[in-house]
């Protein structure tokens, strides 16, 4: 690679237009000590990249300790994307089923009530007739109830008759008294009690 080609490549690099392969070439190129002075500013950056890529975890026991920790760690079962999808899909299906059922049943109810609407006038008239009949019979009933009132009056009269009965019983006592009186006056008369 000549100097002009290198400069072109560096220009592309700052525009983000170089491929990873070209960038590796630049890194390799500038890792050499001798760099033309007008390219020194870029050399520093590529050398920085080169060194930074070599940095490692300083703790030499890191991996050993990590493996010990991992050995003790139980498996935590997380829902995979597939399971999550199935879960959501089943929820959605249940929801749709419920919505479907709701509308189906509701439409059924609508259809039934529409049949009723066709017969609404007939039903209205039947209801009206039934109410009229009830009203007439109610009036008859009221008349009957008035007769019952008269019956009540009759009952009151019979109570007076009861008093009369008591009077008769008293009179009977008088008649018995009279019979004994007659017996005392005429003791030979056996025809009398």
């Amino acid at each position: 690679m000549n100097s002009r080609e290198i400069e072109e490549l560096i220009g592309k690099f700052y525009e983000g237009a170089t491929t990873p392969e070209e960038e590796r070439q630049l890194r390799a190129l500038f890792s050499h000590e001798e760099v033309p002075s007008h390219l020194a500013v870029h050399a520093g950056l590529f050398r920085f990249y080169e060194d930074a890529a070599k940095e490692e975890i300083p703790d030499p026991d890191f991996e050993k300790q990590l493996l010990e920790t991992l050995d003790e760690t139980p498996v935590i079962t997380l829902y995979s994307r597939k399971k999550q999808f199935l879960y959501l899909a089943s929820m959605a299906a249940t929801f749709l089923l419920l919505v479907g059922l709701f509308f189906t049943l509701r439409n059924d109810v609508f259809r039934r009530s529409s049949v009723d609407q066709d017969n609404l006038e007939v039903a209205y008239r039947q209801t009206q007739q039934a109410l009229l009949l009830l009203s007439v019979n109610l009036n008859t009933g009221f008349d009957q109830a008035r007769k019952l009132e008269n019956f009540q009056l009759g009952l009151d009269q019979t109570k007076k008759l009861q008093t009369f009965q008591k009077g008769i019983e008293q009179m009977n006592k008088f008649s018995i008294f009279y019979q004994y009186q007659q017996l005392i006056i005429n003791p030979g008369d056996k025809t009398r009690p």
């Binding site: 690099f13 020194a40 300083p58 703790d59 890191f62 991996e63």
Partner: protein, 171 residues
């Protein structure tokens, strides 16, 4: 995935993950703790790892997310109030003595970049991922990755040239 497979496929990522965590957290011990946490998380999901297209990408995403959580948690740390009161150190203004010094200055410049640029630069320029892989990890489109990377590279070049950091003082 059993421990043997885990050792072959996942654990060799440890240094890559460590470098990313250290780039973001700027603390070697915290970075190492994060890597351990990432491996434990992946190990707990070992029965599901085969379902992922790339376990490596999953490991990188997990590392980045744990680092972002950590950074969020210490956004206003009490112990750093003293540092905030004193003047922030001006990075990369003194002249550099050698290549090692220059590398340190470049590291400081990268620290000042936004997290997204830092991560993209780490994954591309240091770890050598292609744009497609980075786009998947960052959940960005490939062009956005390229634009961010280009800005990061130019920013570093601009600061280096402005401060003439590439002209070593020779004794």
């Amino acid at each position: 995935m059993d421990l043997r497979e885990f050792k072959i496929q996942v654990i060799p990522l440890k240094n890559k993950l460590y470098r990313l965590a250290k780039r973001l957290l700027e603390d070697p011990e915290e970075a190492q703790d994060i890597v351990q946490e990432v491996f434990i998380k992946l190990w707990n999901r070992r029965n599901k790892l085969d379902e992922y297209r790339s376990v490596e990408a999953l490991a990188v995403v997990t590392t980045r997310n744990l680092c972002l959580d950590k950074l969020k948690a210490k956004k206003y740390p009490v112990e750093r109030l003293d540092e905030l009161r004193s003047d922030p150190a001006e990075p990369a203004t003194e002249s550099v003595r050698d290549l090692k010094d220059l590398a340190e200055r470049i590291r400081e410049i990268i620290q000042t970049l936004p997290e997204q640029m830092k991560t993209i630069m780490q994954l591309r320029d240091i770890e050598g991922y292609d744009y497609e892989e980075i786009a998947g990890i960052m959940e960005m489109n490939e062009n956005a990755v390229r634009v961010n990377l280009s800005r990061a590279r130019k920013k570093i070049r601009e600061i280096l040239i402005k401060n003439k950091l590439y002209e070593f003082q020779r004794n």
